[in-house]
């Protein structure tokens, strides 16, 4: 790799200017430099893996004309800011931050490099050159919750989350609401690890939930530990981000998987064409960002049909996972019957619905 000086940057600028006038499928030598920062190590499955698939989609779209630099396992803010600065200074035109933990660092870096396009997954603040994108995980957990409601014999399910941030708390609520749509008496115990990647802690948390009687485990972290430990202990599991059925010992009900590829490729195309603008994207089943992986074979056709029906109703807008009446943990009504929770409150979710056990610590 060569070092970039100001002249190279000018040349690149000129190249980018030129390409705006030629058809976009004719790509020059190195037309685009893309940087990505991952919050955990890339493994076979999980959150970071799905982001690396997005980067791979850019590579297969552009072939040799794209130059990709990736850094993994960067989650402490001081380090993240340095890495974002280095990527921007090294001439990357499009830089992806892939974790809520990257929020402040990417917000501090973006204004210093106004010509670089920054894309931040899970971010909420967007600036002139900082766009954000996020998935509607709660649509996936609601559908998964329907299958959980059917299989749970103890009427107790367990949820493990990385951090009690809105993007995790909301889906936990939707999981329970999906299950309660089948059996209103179901409760859900939640544990937060305060880490995205800590297989040891996750192992203990899963065993704790199972010993409390939970017979379905859903874990929103960067590992398959929850699925694996549930399988070893003969409990059902729900995977997150990737299809985790290979780890579930036959007890993997389904997974709500994340498909970032269209967003990554579109951002790259827009940068190449000079049409990139910072925007906010928040997509679920519509937009093909959230998908359900194949349902477990042992689920009856009725259960699968019920889950698929909910999926299509969510797509069409006939069903909203957070439709009223919604009560908080303390029984107080938060959403009246007939209305749904407004979008901005979904993105700021900081309370548990009735039936959730645990607290946002």
């Amino acid at each position: 790799m060569k070092n970039f000086n100001r002249r190279d940057t000018l040349k690149l600028g000129a190249a980018a200017g030129l390409t705006a006038t030629v058809p976009s499928h004719v790509y020059a030598d190195t037309l685009l430099k893309v940087g990505a920062v991952y919050v955990s190590p890339v493994s076979e499955i999980g959150w970071t893996k799905q982001h690396s698939l997005g980067i791979e989609a850019i590579q297969s779209e552009f072939g040799d004309s794209v130059d990709v630099t990736v850094l993994d396992n960067i989650y402490v803010p001081q380090d993240a800011e340095r890495v974002f600065r280095e990527l921007a200074a090294a001439g990357n035109q499009l830089i992806f931050g892939t974790s809520f933990s990257h929020s402040t660092p990417i917000q501090k870096t973006a204004p210093r490099f106004p010509d670089v396009a920054f894309e931040h997954c899970s971010g909420l603040v967007h600036l002139d050159n900082l766009g954000t994108f996020e998935a509607k995980y709660y649509e996936g957990t609601y559908v998964a919750g329907i299958t959980a409601g059917h299989v749970s014999k103890s009427a107790k399910i367990g949820f493990i989350g990385g951090f009690p941030i809105p993007d995790i708390v909301g889906p936990a609520n939707a999981l329970l609401l999906g299950a309660q749509s089948v059996n209103p008496d179901i409760t859900c115990s939640a544990i937060f690890l305060n880490s995205w990647y800590d297989p040891g802690k996750e192992n203990e948390a899963t065993k704790t939930l199972i010993s409390q009687g939970c017979d379905v485990i859903c874990s929103m972290t960067d590992t398959a530990t929850g699925v694996q430990v549930a399988g070893e202990n003969d409990a059902w599991s729900i995977g997150y981000a990737s299809d985790m059925s290979q780890f579930g010992n036959g007890k993997h009900l389904t997974a709500f998987t994340l498909n970032w590829a269209p967003i990554y490729v579109q951002a790259a195309k827009d940068v190449v064409n000079g049409t990139w603008k910072s925007s906010t994207r928040w997509l679920g089943f519509n937009g093909d960002v959230v998908r359900m992986s194949p349902f477990n074979d042992s689920l009856s056709a009725d259960v699968i049909a019920a889950a698929e029906k909910a999926m299509s109703e969510i797509k069409s807008g006939d069903l909203h996972p957070y439709a009223g009446e919604l009560k908080a943990q303390d029984g107080q009504v938060r959403v009246q019957a007939g209305s749904v929770l407004p979008d901005q409150e979904i993105r700021g979710f900081n309370w548990f619905v009735e039936g959730m056990i645990g607290n946002l610590g």
Binding site: M1, P41, V42, T69, V70, L71, D72, N73, Y75, V76, P77, Q78, D79, E81, R82, V83, R85, E86, L87, A89, A90, F100, S101, S103, T104, K108, L124, F163, P164, I165, P166, N194, R347, G348, F349, N350, L360, G361
Partner: protein
């Protein structure tokens, strides 16, 4: 047959040669390792040790990252010399950062020029207070300070988590677990707006000078070192062991608290659930790589900081996975610390 013998006194030749031998072995083994993975060893080593320092920004980042390591290691070395094992600098750093942020965000004297100085004083006192708990328990009840300091680190982490998820959460921050940004007056000024290095680097320099003076030139420092090497002799000479415990732990706590304000009023600018990439633990390695000597600690801190930056550079430049970079860092530190064995022992062949 081979036998290990203690040397009558530390070998001066080996004191200088051991790090060179260690570096040589690391380069040899890691080169084979890089080769076996298909990476050019010369390029990779160049990426680790030279490339990060080739730009002004690289130098600024190097010092920025080394400074908390050096500050904490200085404080720890004072205790370690006296066999007082403070493993909980991470927690003391967190308490320092919490105190500094609390003052910076909520003190009524927001517009005063004393805002930042009061944050610094608060951070140092908070770090010392956190270290005073194990000091009290050890000197009064003879508890094991290794366990107490380590466990208080978990308490500190959870306390931080409670604050940023609860009462101190930024009201305008979409419920994300972090505090509001510190006001401009509550942060260290940078030397140049293109770089992140800030005036808190002077604290690292001061810490090194104070530590050097204390360890090498003061009577209290001497008494503590004697207590560490020969506790019975120290007791016979009338040196109180509880003084060593208190001074050793409070020095570590003060230094860690200072590093905490350096981070939160420096590159971070706010508290979140994760404020330290393990500086408190890495500083233990720095203290030992530096052989508990102020000048050695500066070298150790600079080396460890360079290893972090180099680990990122080889990822950036050559696509080396972060795990491989970590293995290389581990190898080097292992041989450096293992090499110290040659200073005090020799291996002899016996017929």
């Amino acid at each position: 047959m081979l036998r290990i013998e203690a040397l009558p006194e530390p070998s001066r030749t080996m004191a200088l040669a051991a790090p060179l031998i260690a570096t040589g072995i690391t380069i040899l083994i890691s080169s084979l390792f890089f080769l076996s993975l298909g990476f050019n060893p010369i390029d990779t080593l160049h990426g680790f040790f030279v490339q990060p320092l080739m730009s002004l920004n690289g130098l600024s980042e190097w010092l920025l990252k080394a400074s908390p390591l050096i500050i904490i290691a200085c404080g720890l070395a004072i205790g370690f010399r006296a066999n007082v094992w403070n493993i909980g600098a991470e927690g003391q750093l967190i308490l320092g950062a919490i105190a500094a942020t609390g003052i910076g965000l909520f003190a009524p004297w927001q517009d005063s020029v004393f805002l930042l100085p009061s944050m610094i004083a608060g951070a140092i006192m908070a770090g010392m207070a956190w270290a005073a708990v194990p000091a009290f328990l050890r000197s009064r009840m003879n508890t094991n300070e290794i366990l107490v300091t380590l466990m208080l680190t978990y308490v500190a982490t959870l306390f931080l988590s409670y604050l940023v998820h609860g009462p101190w959460r930024d009201p305008a921050g979409f419920n994300f677990p972090q505090t509001a940004l510190l006001p401009y007056k509550a942060t260290f000024s940078v030397f140049d707006h293109s770089y992140r290095l800030n005036s808190s680097i002077f604290f690292a320099i001061a810490a090194v000078i104070i530590t050097w003076f204390f360890l090498e030139r003061s009577f209290l420092g001497f008494r503590m070192s004697v207590g560490g090497v020969a506790p019975n002799a120290a007791r016979y000479a009338g040196f109180r062991s509880s003084t060593a415990i208190w001074v050793g732990l409070l020095a570590g706590g003060a230094a860690a608290g200072l590093a905490g304000v350096g981070e939160v009023a420096g590159p971070l600018g706010q508290l979140s659930a994760h404020i330290s990439p393990g500086y408190g633990f890495a500083a233990i390695i720095v203290a030992f790589v530096g052989r508990l000597h102020a000048v050695g600690i500066v070298l150790g801190g600079l080396l460890l900081s360079l290893l972090y930056l180099g680990g990122e550079t080889v990822q950036l430049q050559y696509g080396l996975p972060s795990a491989i970079a970590n293995i290389f860092q581990g190898l080097l530190l292992f041989f450096l610390l293992g090499g110290n064995f040659l200073i005090n022992y020799r291996i002899r062949r016996i017929r």
